[in-house]
Symmetry: C2
Subunit: 569 residues, 2 copies
């Protein structure tokens, strides 16, 4: 029987509660929205006592089915002011389910000025511990110290210096299956929310617990086999992602004229071939040593799109380097050296910063004259400013919107206060619709239309494409499934219901994913509506409708009225 762990940081009361009836069949992203609607006053201060920090593994989590052990972390976002679900791989979600927990809810506010603490959760127990030895430390050093204190079997969700300083670019970092803190619940400033709850890290010790019993093992196993076979048969998940990872998207996006270049002033980067999938692959293979283009972030994953990027001596710089980072920290800053991108990625990870938000903020800073395009060393200096907590560092660490406001820059790529990711919406307009309308704020993972059969440059058909993508992603996020699992589920669509029913003994049907996705978005929209969001928030920045993007010279021109109807199911 699953339980809900409630941790009140005002009173320090910790309790393992039964799962409320209404929450039994929701999990992951859907559960975040449900909890927010049920328990969090929508108008509350995101950093105040009424907000909650919610950990909710998806429906399928716990069984180590490939790409299906993802964790949703959420609450009312300190960045967007709306509903937030921030999704990550790694081992945290898996271990939460192993401990028999449906969700962890951190509630209340610590005493003013109290030092951050650890929340340690094991089988049937949880307690706080002090952690003065890791306060202010970077994520990598913190990981080492916590692993030597708690052992190497624990999973850890932690914030870095950026979160401790409550910078709105701060996410929550997690360990991958090898204990490397390279996975992140990146978006929406969940690191700030964790700091507001007085926590430096949550330690999950699975102890001797293992995956929960299946309700219908034969059905589950058969579906798993079919699904994994489909993943193995699709070239994207059996060849391209394993070998080239998400960096393979560089050429695709550059070809579409949609890769952010110099603060979204161009959609094509003249040095794209230096930072594309081939370039990264060849460096990781050619340099040998610790570098590896094929790496799994979660234990059961067969796709292994992650990677380990090593320097010329074969020594790991960072793991992984992903497309979004290449786009926002590379081309968006005019930087074309893979090593520099990797070093910046490492610094941002160590600070506990979202590379999308921070890359976008650096782009805005460059536009304001604070760095030259392509000057990676200056970008590194600016990361040091963040670490020191200088005013300039805080401005950049707080993300693109604030950086634009402080520095007086008008060309700021954000929606609902959150930075647009590495697909310029003027050249991939369906994803622009997602950025504009998603209750989550600008986020490609809320509904990427890159591979949809639509002319990305025309306004027609984009709302329909985004709708389809958003429904599917809200479904996958609630399942705990990685977006790349979709390649398998698309080839073997019945496996979704069989996996769910086989695991839980439910009776979901063929439309489950679609229904789940729609229901999730409906809940999220309702929370945002109560929090004060209106259609005026479902817009791209005005300059993207006025300033044509080279090389296609298109503006974003999907009609607002069409976007406003996107959720009329």
């Amino acid at each position: 029987m699953l339980r809900v762990l409630r941790v009140n940081v005002s009173t320090d009361v910790i309790s393992f509660d039964p799962v409320p009836k209404a929450w039994e069949r929701v999990a992951g992203r859907a559960l975040i929205a449900r909890v927010l609607l049920d328990e969090v006053p929508p108008e509350c201060d995101p950093c105040g006592p009424h907000n909650k920090l919610i950990f909710a593994p998806g429906v399928l989590v716990g069984q180590m089915v490939s790409s299906c052990d993802r964790l949703s972390i959420g609450g009312k976002s300190p960045l967007t002011g709306g509903v937030k679900e921030s999704n990550c791989g790694g081992s945290t979600g898996l271990h939460i389910v192993w401990l028999g927990l449906k969700a962890i809810l951190v509630e209340g506010s610590p005493a003013a000025g109290a030092a951050l603490r650890l929340l340690c959760i094991g089988p049937d127990s949880a307690h706080f511990e002090e952690c003065s030895d890791v306060l202010g430390l970077g994520v990598h050093e913190t990981t080492q110290r916590l692993r030597s204190r708690f052992g190497t079997k624990v999973s850890i969700a932690m914030i870095g210096p950026a979160g401790e300083m409550r910078l709105r670019g701060a996410g929550i970092m997690h360990l991958d299956k090898d204990g490397n803190p390279g996975r992140i619940s990146a978006r929406g400033a969940m690191g700030v929310l964790m700091a507001a709850k007085g926590l430096k890290a949550v330690i999950i010790d699975p102890g001797k617990t293992r995956r929960p019993a299946l309700a219908d093992a034969p059905r589950h196993n058969a579906a798993r086999k079919l699904y994994v076979k489909a993943l193995a048969e699709h070239p994207q998940t059996s060849k391209i992602y394993p070998e080239y990872g998400t960096a393979s998207i560089v050429d695709m996006c550059n070809g579409f004229g949609a890769i952010p270049t110099r603060n979204f002033s161009n959609g094509r980067f003249e040095h794209a071939e230096k930072i594309n999938g081939d370039a990264f692959h060849d460096l990781m293979v050619g340099r040998g040593g610790e570098g590896d283009p094929t790496h799994a972030c979660m234990a059961g994953c067969t796709i292994q799109c992650s990677n380990i990027y090593a320097d010329v001596n074969g020594k790991q710089i960072v793991s992984p380097v992903e497309y979004e980072t290449i786009g926002l920290v590379g081309s968006n800053l005019g930087i074309s050296e893979p090593d520099m991108i990797a070093h910046l990625n490492y610094q941002m990870n160590d600070l506990g910063l979202d590379t999308i938000e921070t890359g976008a903020a650096l782009g805005v800073a460059a536009e304001a004259g604070l760095m030259e395009w392509g000057d990676g060393l200056r970008a590194m200096q600016l990361m040091e400013e963040v670490r020191k907590g200088t005013a300039l560092g805080r401005v950049i660490g707080n993300g693109a919107k604030l950086a634009g406001e402080v520095l007086g820059v008008q060309r700021v790529p954000v929606v609902k206060g959150q930075a647009i990711s590495a697909y310029d919406p003027r050249a991939i307009k369906g994803t622009g619709v997602t950025y504009a309308t998603s209750p989550q704020g600008a986020d490609h993972t809320a509904g990427l239309t890159l591979r949809m059969p639509v002319d990305h440059l025309k306004p027609e058909g984009q709302v329909a494409a985004s709708r389809t993508a958003q429904i599917r992603m809200a479904g996958f996020d609630s399942l705990g499934a990685c977006i790349f699992g979709a390649f398998g589920f698309n080839l073997a669509p019945t496996t979704i219901q069989d996996l769910v029913n086989g695991q839980h003994g439910w009776d979901v049907g063929a439309d489950y994913l679609t229904e789940l996705g729609k229901a999730t978005i409906d809940l999220e929209r309702e929370f945002n509506r109560r929090a004060g969001f209106t259609p005026a928030d479902d817009r791209l920045p005005e300059w993207m409708t006025l300033e044509a993007l080279a090389p296609n010279n298109t503006v974003f021109d999907v009609p607002a009225a069409e976007m406003d109807a996107i959720y009329n199911w």
Copy 2:
């Protein structure tokens, strides 16, 4: 026949147009809202080409009736994102009417990177001029240069370095009747909007024009006499304000436990007697020289609440020092030396900054550890940071909300992004209702309840008090009447309709002020609604509902549902 001057800074086309029928009987604050609804897309980027910078003198302006020559400047606010009317004394409004202009509308956007210019308006003509000699200069030096270039008869509306840097604390500075740039359209970042329109200053040369003919001179003159007599009979406008100015409010607010002290952490300042009306009065009188406690900002004013504050040698430091500045830059920062407050006031004026917004931002900065309470020299240094445009300076110059976000401070006194003025809403709860609900964002001038017959500490009756105050103030702002004119109008209420009808030949009735006020607020609310505002925006910051204010130990507890009904006339 009045005309509308339209100035398009995209095309440089300037035209003197007839007044649209629907605008004929609206002026001042009401006209700002009307123009916004008629011509500005509510969702537009405040700094983009679709927003308009609007100058609109009030209904009564032009006749030099005491306290009735005020100018409304407005547009969609870069600070709040909503409707904004920012009201000022001085000579600008008077001269606009003398030139036969109902309003000046600055439209479009200048070419990217173009240098700021001057807009020079004279009788029947207007043109742009370059002004490289004053770019980057403070308001005082700019004033000197522009007056030597254009003569001492012109009025000038200008921005300082803060506006040029697009810092959201920036207002628009104006000359008083003596040519001193001490009047400011302070609130809502109108200085940023002016910069976004590519203007450093607007020069109004009245030439040989004088006050327009009256439609019914006997009626107007009789009413004026009655009204001025009433002002002369009320002790507040004949004795207290002339002698002590608005500094007289210090004791009153301190007595109520409502003076902002150390970033709104206390409502009583232990050194209030060093910065109260008596203290300032005695220094201005005792030091002699240029100091003067009795000074008029507008030519016809009989109240003369303004002042000239001089140093120990009798040399003017700044004119005027007002209560809001004393509250936000004095007690709110723990500063109890009048000279220091005056010097900071001068610096903020010179930068073209709103002292309320900037004082509140400094309070937040002090809370974050960037200055010690009471350390005025450090506050002066921080103003130098603003002048230099450093990251820290930009953070503070952008106002309290941004400062709080960047510096990670939760106790930030803002509503709709705009700083609360010098009446803590937990101890003057009716004014708290005004802060929360006014379409203008937190602003005491939108409806101060300080003198209303209500127990300021109880939640009961506050919505009614605020409603009454808001209606009256929206009316006065549309008339172009100073809030202090109310002391006269209250004693001689028929003079309002007689002044209006006598001036314009209209036929407004006894309910005119109330109708005008309600209609104005209705227009403003409608613009904000279309811009995306909801009841969730009509709230004080959550911490003010949780953190009790000494010495009364009250929180803000007027029920939200009651506030949401405030405009159900």
